[in-house]
């Protein structure tokens, strides 16, 4: 492979306009958080049954995506796939940006975000939540180190070992994120070890989809060459990851269906849950799973920017739906205090909990995404994250010529 030249992205009005939009959404997110903290969570759709709402959906999505987006770097450093190495820097930058965006949403949705210092200084080491705080901070440090050894020529020789370490760290981190739900023994919808591998598969899929979308957008806007062959290779990998998500999802529900005690929650999610059932089957499984897999394997779409971008966007939409079903749907189904009995009380026992996300919650969540993208944009502007060219010839001069043309 020819020597890769990295350059900051070009500035100008286009960049300034894009950044202004991202900053505006970020400010909307901050304003939403201020509104929620000032008046209390009474102004959100959350209540004493749905204690985690839309902000958590965005936060968990961003955190899961952050660990997954690092995989393009791992393909180069850990699995030795040379053509992906030039993309490793962008992969690391996006990993940091998405994690920071997700954590910002998570923190600003706390009842007492002003007590962040408490969360950073007092730890209950039995809590998976506390472990995750270490895993998140550690991830930022490890990925920053990974970027450093890649970008500092004298340190390049350490890149493979740091890359390995980052790869293992990200697997542990996503295991931790999944286990936040997997270890909730009381709830019918959670309490399953499969949550950890399911979340790892989700991170691989959402992360790669986000990487593809960002890369295509940036290269499209800056006019730098980006080969359809390398995109197609990544898209086919996306198809495998999306299939893995479907596999673990099937495993999750089939395991539950086999246990009579979980029949109720499964009937709720799969058949009678209204919005949750619709999101599960239509958005998560069909639009977010089956359709993108088809798009990246059907020749007519697999080698086109449009097909690959559509597949990536659908995976992300399906991912948001999946996390919504897991988090909100899992809480909407009532806790079983008295198995086999019907219960009713003044505290919504025994009934499906109502939840309608408020604008403020959506504003905070979208603000987190915008913040992450703004970090990435500024990063690309001030440091050399992006190769001048990701054309197929530059990445892999010995490959067979492409069979189809870029559309």
């Amino acid at each position: 492979m020819a020597r890769v030249v990295y350059r900051e992205i070009e500035g100008g009005a286009g960049f300034a306009g894009l950044l202004a939009i991202l900053v505006a959404f970020t400010l909307t997110g901050i304003a939403s958080a201020w509104y929620m903290e000032h008046y209390g969570h009474i102004v959100t759709g959350m209540n004493n049954r749905i204690v985690w709402g839309m902000p958590h959906v965005f936060a968990v999505f961003l955190i899961v995506t952050a660990s997954g987006v690092l995989n393009v770097a791992s393909l180069g450093s850990v699995f030795g796939r040379t053509p992906y190495k030039p993309m490793a820097r962008l992969s690391g930058l996006l990993a940091i940006a998405f994690l920071v965006g997700g954590l910002a949403v998570l923190v600003l949705d706390l009842g007492r975000p002003d007590r962040l210092i408490v969360a950073m200084t007092k730890y209950n080491l039995k809590s998976i939540f506390a472990w995750n705080i270490f895993l998140y901070i550690g991830f930022l440090v490890v990925v920053a180190a990974y970027l450093f050894v890649q970008m500092e020529r004298r340190m390049n020789r350490f890149a493979p070992s740091v890359g390995w370490f980052a790869f293992i760290w990200r697997l542990v981190l996503t295991t931790g994120t999944g286990s936040i739900f997997g270890w909730l023994v009381a709830r019918q919808a959670y309490d399953a070890a499969v949550m950890a591998p399911l979340f790892i598969a989700m991170s691989l899929s959402f992360g790669l989809a986000a990487f593809l979308l960002v890369t295509m957008t940036v290269y499209g806007l800056t006019g730098r060459p980006l080969g359809v062959h390398i995109l197609n290779r990544l898209a086919r990998l996306l198809g495998i990851f999306a299939a893995a998500v479907l596999y673990f999802t099937a495993l999750q529900h089939l395991t539950n269906l086999y246990a009579a005690e979980h029949a109720g929650v499964e009937r709720f999610i799969l058949l009678e849950g209204g919005i949750y059932t619709a999101l599960f089957w239509i958005v998560q499984v069909v639009l977010g799973g089956v359709v993108p897999i088809a798009l990246v394997y059907i020749p007519a779409t697999a080698r086109t920017w449009t097909g690959i971008a559509a597949a990536s966007a659908l995976v992300i939409a399906g991912g948001l739906a999946q996390i919504y079903v897991i988090i909100v749907g899992g809480q909407a189904y009532p806790l079983i205090l008295f198995p086999g009995m019907e219960v009713q009380s003044s505290y919504q026992d025994g009934v499906v909990a109502a939840y309608m996300p408020s604008l403020a919650e959506i504003g905070l969540g979208v603000g987190g995404v915008a913040f992450a993208l703004a970090i990435a944009a500024v990063g690309m502007k001030v440091l050399r994250f992006l190769p001048d060219s990701l054309s197929d010839d530059a990445l892999d001069p010995h490959r067979q010529p492409a069979r189809a043309v870029n559309t």
Binding site: I42, N48, R49, K122, N124, L337, E342, Q344
Partner: protein, 263 residues
Amino acid sequence: MTATRNNPFLRDKPAPDDVPERGRRDVLRALAAGVGLALAPGVTLYAFGGPAEARAPGDPVSSKVRWGLLIDVNKCADGCTRCVTACSTENGWSDTGHPLTDAQWIRKVKVTDPKTGASRSLPVMCQHCAEPPCVDVCPTGASFKRADGIVLVDKHICIGCRYCMMACPYNARSFIHESLKDQKPYAPRGKGTVESCTLCVHRIDAGRIPACVEACPAEGGGALAFGDLNDPAAEISQRIAKYASAQIRADLGTDPGVRYQNL
């Protein structure tokens, strides 16, 4: 016959081998209990609500004690909410017109068997588990279990993450969704933090019994009993030893300090 079977004091309890020798005070307490029963059977539970011994300020909480509740569901009347009202008055939480977001430290739950239609009404509150999931998951340690078994939230270090509410199997916790006023000085609460039944820890530390137990009407039989589960001489322990009782979701192994009879 029924009265005899249900009366815990008309039967001798076989003493387990591992029960420590009773001290003079325990014997006196048991004697007093017997007298109380003979005089006024209807108020035994209240009388035995086992006034806690006041703890001197500064004295550490003893792990030799495990405070608990015993709720006789047969004596809990459907529609009676005196325990709920008493808790609300005592601790300062109330209906603000937002039923989905208002705090409820204790609630009456109606349990119906769909096959037979038989139903029961019982109060559910924080179950003060020996192995509380809320304490396990709390990232900062704000959820904690006192040495005497009372599960509490330290409002100073609760960051309002609500993970404890996700983990609690009993739906026992509430998040404060809006600003509060007229708080009770002994039951501090705060917007953005999580709270639940404290077992009236302020009363227990002063040698009194929880407000719900005190309010449960004597004439109705007194469905609620309070006492030290670790004290074999305590009325609550004797009743638990003599008659079957159940814990909600005992299968989870959280070992709640709140037990139910005739559920």
